[in-house]
Amino acid sequence: MVDFPEIVNIPLAKWIDKAMDWLLLNLDPFFDAIGFIILKVVLAFENLFLFIPWFVLIPLAGLAGWKLVGKKRSGVTFMILLFLVGSFGYWELAMRTLSLVIASVFFSLIIGIPLGIRMARSDRAQAIMKPMMDAMQTMPSFVYLIPALMFFGMGKVPAMFATIIYAVPPVIRLTNVGIRTVDKEAVEASKAFGATSRQVLFDVQLPLAKPSIMVGVNQTTMMALAMVVIGSMIGAKGLGMEVLLAINRIEVGRGFEAGLSIVFLAIIIDRITYSFSKTKDK
């Protein structure tokens, strides 16, 4: 075998490490601030979901299934699934995982929807952002954990940081696509009547792009759930950590229960967020 000539070794890894060092050194207060905000939000959600007793939340989920998804059967299914999670003994961990997911999605949307709008309004922005997002989505998810760890140490915050970054592309992408495929004449009509670009955005583009944006929200949420599970590797308490422990101790039964609980959560979250993308016709 012929070795690759060592002389053309490009020290990309070294450069990136250097850049990280620089960021850490100079932007430390900035990351502290971000970490603080993230923590506050996730704690607020955690407090909420740990405060609501199971016998209230389960009927609420049933109601959501019935009213939002549109079928009584979905409501009943949701209640049974949540009840099973509780009966496995994972109620509290499931609530922690749920809080992490919801908090991450919250941030992903705050970042993603404006970026998607920006991308839709400028071909240049689209040309720049598209390859970046393609790269982000093909990157193995746990790679995001490394910089998150460096910036924020162990715990919930880095797990969420990684989750937000990992889960944001779909909502950006689908906001962009949604706005770009809005009926051209509806936009022209709005402009023809003298609407400002803000009026065009809020009167026409966002409402008509809503189904598409909601599909993005759904995908972002599912990715967030997947990432939160992985995030338990760096110390975010939740169902993911249970799976991790079960793997380490080769406890098949325990792993199965925890895994099943994640799947049940996923089903419920998926159906509810997906229902938002269906426009209800009068």
């Binding site: 009926d183 004449e185 509806a186 022209e188 009509a189 709005s190 402009k191 023809a192 009547f193 003298g194 609407a195 400002t196 009026q199 009167d203 026409v204 409402p207 008509l208 426009t279 016709d281 009068k282």
Partner: protein
């Protein structure tokens, strides 16, 4: 006299829209196409050489206030581009557009918003309605953009919906309405703003023929009342002839002919226009004024019955039209009636004793003229809206005018 003066001032009034040397070139670096090497090339050549597409080339047009102006041409000829330039949904590459004396090509975005709100209403081929709003909210949209309070804009929108015959549909959503009704909403939305200029880009192209004809009829009626300036795009000749006061025909981004419906049909500039109008029935475009002749014998009431009788006999006639001093048609006088007047000693021809006759206006089209002419034994008098006598039409005139070979054409 005063009547004449008034007509003249209307005729010479400054046009409301003046378009000068307007170009639109789509693509990268469009200005280079205007350089002297490229600007004379054809649309296809320019596209091959530069990748740019000529949307409009050197457009010069004038539209008067209250005119129903048609833009006609094949798909891709630049009609939509031109209409969108008027409101700057598309910005021209060069040239100027003046509307009400203001150069809109120079306006900044602030002025433009204001101008759009004040001056324009637009109607689209696929309606361009907002599906998440009710019919009423759609109709009120232009007013909402303007910032009118809710009560006022709903009141105006309701009125506008009533005008287009949609009363009772306010609370429906556009998706539950038929195409024709959706376009009515589109029209109501445009009218609610009470704009000076209405832009309509193929508004009826998507509708079934029957609905389409009905909408055209209603638009004609509406325009009689409202007298807006309308720029109306179509590729349907019959629609153009039915609605238009003036027609501009476009090809490959250029205006190849402008004229009245009649001029376009009877004197096409070139083969393209001729091809366009080839199945236009002259009966639908030729008007009484274009085929009428002056009366050979015309009697003046104030000259008295004796002069009248002499005139009749000299020309070998048994009857003739009588007009008063302002050239208003009074009726027909038969020889016998005039003889009786002389016996009774009248010094003037009394209007009461004349036979009343059906008359037509100068813009009556042949199709409508024909049944009237064939029904009456006399030639039919043509009188303008003030009753002034203009000329006469007979069956012979009609047959001559629709005979296929025209002398003028082979000579010219």
């Amino acid at each position: 006299m005063s009547e004449d003066l008034k007509n003249e001032t209307v005729e010479t009034e400054d046009p409301q829209i003046v378009i000068k040397d307007l170009w639109k070139i789509y693509g990268r670096d469009p200005k280079r196409v205007l350089g002297k090497n490229l600007r004379t090339l054809s649309k296809d050549e320019v596209q091959k050489k530069t990748g740019c597409i000529i949307g409009m080339r050197e457009i010069n047009l004038e539209v008067k206030k209250g005119e129903f102006y048609i833009l006609m041409g094949l798909s891709g000829s630049g009609k939509s581009t031109l209409v969108r330039n008027l409101i700057r949904l598309v910005n021209p590459t060069s040239g100027t557009i003046h509307i009400n004396g203001e150069n809109i090509t120079k306006m900044n975005s602030e002025q433009l918003l204001h101008f759009r709100r004040k001056t324009f209403g637009m109607v689209f081929q696929h309606y361009g309605l907002l599906p998440h709003l009710t019919v009423l909210d759609n109709a009120a949209y232009g007013l909402k953009v303007k910032g009118l309070p809710k009560g006022e804009r709903y009141a105006k929108a309701m009125q506008s919906l009533e005008t287009v015959g949609l009363k009772g549909w306010e609370d429906y959503y556009p998706g539950s309405l038929s195409g024709g009704m959706q376009q009515r909403v589109g029209l109501a939305r445009a009218l609610a703003n009470d704009p000076e200029i209405l832009l309509m880009d193929e508004p009826f192209s998507g509708l079934d023929p029957l609905i389409r004809r009905q909408m055209q009829d209603e638009l004609v009626e509406l325009q009689d009342k409202l007298q807006k300036t309308i720029i109306f795009v179509t590729h349907d000749l019959h629609e153009a002839l039915k609605l238009g006061d003036k027609i501009a025909i476009m090809r490959n981004g250029e205006v190849v002919q402008v004229g009245s419906p009649e001029e376009i049909v009877t004197q096409p500039n070139d083969d393209y226009v001729a091809e366009f109008v080839k199945d236009a029935s002259p009966a639908k475009v030729l008007t009484a004024s274009s085929i009428m002749d002056p009366a050979k014998v015309l009697l003046y009431a104030w000259e008295g019955p004796k002069t009248a009788l002499t005139l009749l006999r000299k020309n070998n006639r048994k009857a003739a039209f009588v007009v008063d001093k302002s050239h208003k048609l009074l009726g027909v006088a038969k020889e016998k009636v005039i003889e009786k007047m002389i016996e009774e000693g009248h010094s003037k021809i009394p209007a009461e004793s004349l036979m009343k006759v059906t008359s037509v206006t100068p813009d009556t089209i042949l199709e409508d003229l024909f049944p009237i002419v064939t029904e009456h034994p006399f030639p039919i008098p043509v009188c303008n809206e003030n009753g002034k006598f203009q000329g006469i039409v007979t069956t012979d005139h009609i047959f001559e005018s629709i005979s296929p070979v025209e002398e003028g054409e082979s000579n010219g």
